[in-house]
């Protein structure tokens, strides 16, 4: 043990199990797979789902038993609960991946350049793929989303500020209304605008009215998400602003909102996500058209969800293909909008 024997220790990760230590776990997994295979063969259970509903309980129980034998009860409980978590997480991710993969696989064959340059004005839904396009619906969807943002973000943000900053009279009632509104079925929102605006005023169906209907869905989402973000801003900051001789308005505008801007942007994105795929509210108030309409305030317009709905309604192979392609385009559009908001919006701060 001379001092010269001291050398630099090699970095290692003693907490990561070695291959040898992994063997029992891997064995248990193989047994579970084998047992699942046997059970599916002898019982009437069939297909992917059959494997799935036999394998998941089997691996959970076997892992638990293994841990119980190798170590104590506490570790076995830990293994059991971890298994449930993994299963639950898998169940949440499964549909998401399934949706994305299905959309790409089914939509890709129809994704031709001309769908972005042509409309359906001179084409039938049942015409061969390669003729006609969804430009009119893409433009219509961009119109309703942008108009909804212009209407809902100020309304939602101001409502959230009233509820968290001013806490004025009627806050409890407004909170109740906002919660109730977020449960409104989307078709009701469309019917409401139809009966309240189209039937009683000279206004006719247009992108603007479509965005009215969508705003009924978007305002509560933006409000509640903004409220949660604003509630995270420490009270110290508000007091510091007020202690510098600021009015409440100046404190909110210069301190609270800038501190929350990243979260408020997320609130807006959540709102857009809520409305981007809505079909039902648009059925009554957008009019629906197969031609391009560049005026969002006048005349009927289209939207991607409407285009998709029409495609599936007709139900023939060409129209269904068009619908799948439109779903893919909608997915890409929403993703693009979110990316733009993230890249050009405020940089991620503390919240």
């Amino acid at each position: 043990m001379s001092a010269t024997a001291i050398s630099t220790p090699t970095p290692s990760k003693p907490w990561v199990p070695t291959t040898k230590q992994r063997i029992p776990g891997i064995t248990v997994a193989i047994i579970a797979i084998a047992l699942a295979y046997v059970i599916v063969e002898v019982t009437p259970l069939k297909g992917k789902l059959g494997y799935f509903i036999t394998f998941v309980p089997l691996i959970t129980i076997l892992q638990f038993l293994l841990a119980r034998i190798r170590s104590n009860k506490k570790i076995a409980q830990d293994v059991l609960v971890s298994s449930f978590m993994w299963t639950a997480a898998f169940f949440v991710f499964l549909p998401t991946f399934s949706i994305i993969i299905t959309t790409v696989v089914k939509g890709l064959p129809g994704l031709k350049p001309e769908i972005f340059s042509q409309t359906m004005a001179a084409t039938s839904y049942t015409d061969p793929i390669g003729t006609g396009g969804l430009l009119h619906s893409l433009v219509g969807t961009v119109f309703v989303i942008l108009l909804s943002i212009f209407i809902s973000v100020p309304l939602g943000l101001l409502t959230a500020l009233y509820l968290t900053e001013i806490k004025g009279p009627g806050s409890g009632f407004i909170q109740f209304i906002v919660q109730a509104m977020s449960g409104v079925p989307s078709v009701i929102a469309g019917l409401f605008i139809f009966s309240a605006v189209i039937l009683t005023t000279p206004l006719e169906a247009s992108s603007l009215l479509g965005s009215f209907a969508l705003s009924i869905l978007m305002v509560p989402t933006v409000t509640r998400a903004s409220q949660e973000v604003l509630a995270l801003i420490p009270n110290d900051l508000r007091e510091a602003g007020l202690a510098l001789g600021a009015t409440q308005w100046k404190t909110v505008a210069l301190v609270v909102v800038p501190a929350a801007k990243s979260g408020l942007l997320t609130a807006m994105i959540l709102g857009v996500a809520r409305i981007a795929g809505e079909t039902a509210p648009l059925l009554f108030v957008l009019g629906g058209t197969d031609a391009l309409n560049l005026n969002p305030f006048h005349n009927f317009n289209s939207a991607l969800p409407l285009y998709i709905w029409k495609g599936f309604l007709i139900g023939l192979p060409e129209s269904v293909q068009r619908a799948w392609t439109a779903i893919l385009v909608l997915l890409i559009l929403v993703l693009t909008l979110f990316t733009i908001a993230r890249v050009f919006g405020p940089k991620k701060g503390k919240i």
Binding site: E239, A243, T251, L254, P258
Partner: protein, 285 residues
């Protein structure tokens, strides 16, 4: 007001005698801040009972006492921050240059411009740079200061807060990138930018290490030449080091009351009240 005769001699009469030993600074700083019969409630709970204290201009007064004795509540009544707690109530008078800040027709934002505050936890504005933080009061209170004056003001405030040399090369960095002690000095610089006559400090060093505490105490000594400072502290050595006067608050389970006030040396060496002596000698609290 059911002021007992026990409280009265400890407050007003002592203030009168306390003023004698050290006269306020020579600069014309106005006539200081006076609290008269201040009571503060949270709902039905009386937190501060009948506190009367004079803060002569150009002096540093330390408020000491165990937790829950109402000193923080009391200091927050001095610039009307108390009223932000929804259930809060108040009685009494707080006179700034002989004008009641709770009087009718008083613009409370103007009051807070003249009576600045530094909080327990450093709270620089996270969305602003160091420079913007210092000048935030100009924007927040909508003061008219030209761009060129703002630069001078920023440097002046940072120098007075003892932070200029550490941040002069990175004024565009985020306020949150500073250490805790630097953040607190940034908050002091921010308060100075609106040129207050009185600076309230609510345990400004309780979250800081001894080195940062020392820097802030140096800052306080320098600032006391140009303004009135009232500091709440749990650290009795700190009170002894920085203050000209010390006021001892105590709650015996009921509302917090002012037990004794006097020149700091007197409070720490020969206090009149037995409870003060017990506290400053470390027998409790």
């Amino acid at each position: 007001m059911n002021t007992s005769e026990k409280v009265a001699p400890n407050s007003l009469s002592n203030v009168a005698s306390a003023r004698a030993p050290k006269k306020p600074g020579t600069s014309p700083l106005g006539s200081g801040l006076e609290a008269r019969g201040v009571h503060a409630w949270f709902g039905n709970h009386l937190a501060v009972k009948d506190v009367s204290l004079d803060f002569s201009s150009g002096t540093v007064t330390a408020l000491i006492g165990p937790s829950g004795c109402g000193k923080s509540t009391f200091i927050r009544t001095l610039n009307r921050m108390h009223e932000f707690i929804p259930s809060a109530a108040f009685a009494g008078e707080v006179l700034l240059d002989n004008q009641d800040i709770y009087g009718t027709g008083i613009d409370v934002t103007k009051i807070r411009l003249q009576i600045g505050m530094v909080f327990q936890k450093p709270n620089p504005f996270p969305s602003m740079t160091i420079g913007e933080n210092v000048l935030s009061g100009i924007k927040l209170a909508q003061l008219n200061v030209s761009k060129s004056e703002q630069q001078d003001l920023m440097q002046d405030c940072l120098e007075r807060a003892g932070l200029w040399n550490e941040v002069k090369d990175r004024l565009d960095a985020q306020g949150g990138s500073l250490s805790g002690g630097q953040q607190q000095r940034l908050c002091i610089a921010r308060s100075l930018a609106v040129k207050p006559k009185v600076l309230l400090m609510d345990e400004p060093c309780s979250a800081l290490d001894p080195g940062s505490t020392l820097r802030i105490e140096e800052t306080i000594s320098q600032l006391s030449n140009s303004m009135t400072i009232i500091i709440v502290t749990h650290n009795m050595q700190q009170a002894a080091r920085v203050s000209d006067y010390t006021a001892f608050f105590l709650s015996d389970g009921g509302p917090g009351e002012l037990i004794e006030v006097g020149p700091t040396s007197q409070i720490f060496t020969k206090p009149r009240d037995q409870r003060t002596e017990n506290y400053v000698s470390g027998r409790f609290g």
